[in-house]
């Protein structure tokens, strides 16, 4: 019965040109909830629309337009305050990008895509395999290294210390004048204190060993995730000193609405989106596109 297909179209048909009523606001609320925006953020956005309706009469189309504008504002805010619209490695310096997140969200795949993009754009690129825990994590990463033509620094021995791998990789990066060092980390749930501490240690080693490097600590969020995504962002922000986020798996029907709360409450600029399993399926983040897709018929 209820599928997302045509929901917006249906809504517009149903509401026609009539002024928005309280019932229509319920429908718009549904639209946001189903995009995983979450009940609290949805309440906030809808209530600003309600305030707006007290000032002027709006039809459905104008109402949706207003919502989109509000959403875009929320998402753009951290990007604006970061001072960087488009995240690219700085030339002439060592850039270290650390990819972190819970299990299975797409860290390794995203790293492979970034390695490809970076080396294709003539940045000297290196990969550190700091997931020493998951079964065949290094083998998986090496396939991505081959595909993107980027070398992978790893330690195949069992229970190798991830911080030691990062240490080695930084040494290699310095020796070879690398522009961008990409660090893959093991998936970890934010409730596992020992694993979160391990991450803090990795971050600290990078900061200490190459204080003049430009470090980006990026949280990978799966678009199909619900409200737990916000807890993830809060917790990783503490341990890994996050500077941004990447949303993956947007090629499905998931909308990634939780990233709205992540932008608002954790102030994280979204930097890239992943939309497929192929090496080219990564795009710089564009808030207009994102909001349109979030509320589009799919």
């Amino acid at each position: 019965e209820e599928t997302r297909k045509g929901f917006v179209t249906e809504l517009l048909d149903k509401l026609g040109d009539d002024p928005l009523t309280p019932e229509a606001l319920d429908d718009l609320e549904t639209l946001l909830i189903r995009a995983d925006v979450g009940i609290d953020s949805t309440d906030k956005v809808i209530s600003s629309l309600r305030t707006k309706l007290n000032e002027e009469v709006l039809g459905a189309e104008a109402g949706i337009k207003f919502l989109k504008k509000e959403l875009k504002l929320i998402i753009d805010k951290p990007i604006k305050s970061s001072g960087t619209d488009l995240l690219v490695p700085q030339k002439g310096k060592l850039n270290v990008w650390l990819l972190v997140g819970v299990n299975g969200v797409g860290k390794t795949t995203t790293l492979g895509k970034l390695a490809y993009l970076s080396s294709k754009s003539n940045y000297k690129t290196l990969i550190a395999a700091a997931d020493t825990f998951r079964a065949a994590a290094v083998e998986q990463l090496k396939v991505w290294g081959d595909r993107s033509n980027v070398e992978v620094i790893s330690n195949q021995s069992k229970n190798a210390d991830p911080a030691a791998v990062v240490f080695d990789a930084i040494n290699s990066a310095k020796k070879r004048n690398v522009d961008l060092l990409l660090v893959d980390t093991a998936g970890r749930l934010q409730t596992k204190n020992n694993l979160m501490d391990e991450l803090a240690k990795i971050k600290k080693i990078i900061d200490r060993k190459v204080p003049d490097a430009i470090v980006e600590s990026l949280l990978v969020l799966d678009a199909s995730q619900g409200q737990n995504g916000l807890k993830q962002a809060k917790s990783f922000a503490k341990s890994a000193d996050l500077s941004g986020a990447i949303i993956t798996k947007l090629d499905g029907t998931s909308r990634g609405g939780v990233s709205l709360a992540v932008s608002e409450e954790v102030n994280l600029p979204i930097r890239f989106i992943g939309a497929g399993e192929g090496i080219k399926d990564l795009r710089p983040f564009n808030s207009y596109e994102f909001v349109e897709a979030m509320l589009a018929d799919k």
Partner: protein, 307 residues
């Protein structure tokens, strides 16, 4: 968040104090809070709406016995209904008495299928089954090595493609032959992650199912999933046909509302939960524990008692 939820609940339930019966009038605030709680727990909206209607019908007219306050009664109705929907008790794995039991794993990318394949393998091995794990994911880099690594931890045999360009359905078929010739009695087939809207990958799943004639098709779902749970379950059930589900990554702090969506939409039980990355970390699913988790009921119940 639990605290906030609980205090809202407390307010809503206070409204019920002193009433002798639960009625349409005195229940609405409390229902609203249940709706919020379920959405916060990522239960899919369509399922939430149905649930609220059901609970309302059940609760209205409930007499409140002396000594029990109406709020308490209401929470009890909600809790019971949640448990009922999720199947009341644990539902065991199907077994085939005449030929090897075949279990097929399915789900989105990264949900935890390969890990769950290892987990079920160990679980069955501990029940003295001769277990064969089948690596039928030909797409994900190092998927076969991953399963082999997991299997090697407990000497679980892994069957993988003998030729380079074998299709998953061919691998499954060969594995079944191999299992029959070598007296394996439990076969677990790991498959690649796929989106429910990817038609060619969904048809592949159907072909794997056709050749392997499984006793179980288990949908593996990440407990952190959001509203997508409903659509995911619906599509996999309609296109492939599932017999049950495994909910993974419950060792974290997700509320796991997907459990309700999966059961309500497919009618099929959740059989196991994943509670860690190691292949020992598998537990049978218990509806009553899940109900408490979804509603944050532990907190709520104590508050209700105070109210």
């Amino acid at each position: 968040m639990f605290d906030e939820l609980s205090s809202r609940f407390e307010d809503a339930v206070k409204g019920l104090r002193g009433e002798a019966k639960i009625s349409e009038n005195n229940i609405n605030d409390a229902l609203k809070e249940v709706k919020r709680a379920l959405l916060d727990a990522d239960v899919s909206l369509s399922v939430v709406k149905e649930f609220i209607t059901d609970v309302k019908d059940k609760a209205i007219g409930e007499e409140v016995v002396r000594g029990v306050n109406p709020g308490q009664k209401f929470i009890e109705v909600v809790n019971k209904e949640l448990i009922k929907i999720m199947g009341n008790e644990n539902s065991p794995l199907n077994e085939n008495e005449n030929s090897p039991t075949v279990i097929l794993m399915a789900g989105l990318q990264g949900a935890g299928k390969t890990t769950a394949t290892g987990k079920l393998g160990l679980y069955l091995k501990e029940k003295d089954k001769k277990v064969l794990l089948v690596a039928a994911d030909i797409y994900r880099p190092a998927a076969v090595e991953q399963l082999k690594t997991l299997g090697s931890q407990y000497e679980l045999e892994v069957f993988s493609a003998k030729e380079k360009n074998s299709k998953p359905e061919e691998i499954a078929k060969e594995a079944l032959n191999f299992a029959n010739e070598n007296d394996f009695n439990s076969i677990i087939i790991d498959t690649a992650g796929r989106l429910q809207i990817d038609d060619s990958m969904m048809s592949e799943m159907v072909r794997i199912k056709e050749v392997s004639n499984p006793d179980e098709v288990l949908l593996v779902v990440d407990s952190m999933i959001g509203q997508e749970a409903a659509d995911l379950t619906k599509s996999f059930h309609e296109k492939v046909g599932i017999t049950g589900a495994i909910l993974t990554k419950l060792d974290g702090d997700s509320r796991g509302g997907a459990a309700l969506s999966i059961r309500k939409i497919s009618g099929k039980p959740i059989k196991f939960i994943g509670v860690g990355e190691k292949i020992e970390a598998l537990q049978p699913f218990h509806p009553e524990r899940m109900a408490s988790r979804i509603l944050g009921m532990g907190d709520v119940l104590t508050l209700v008692e105070k109210a």
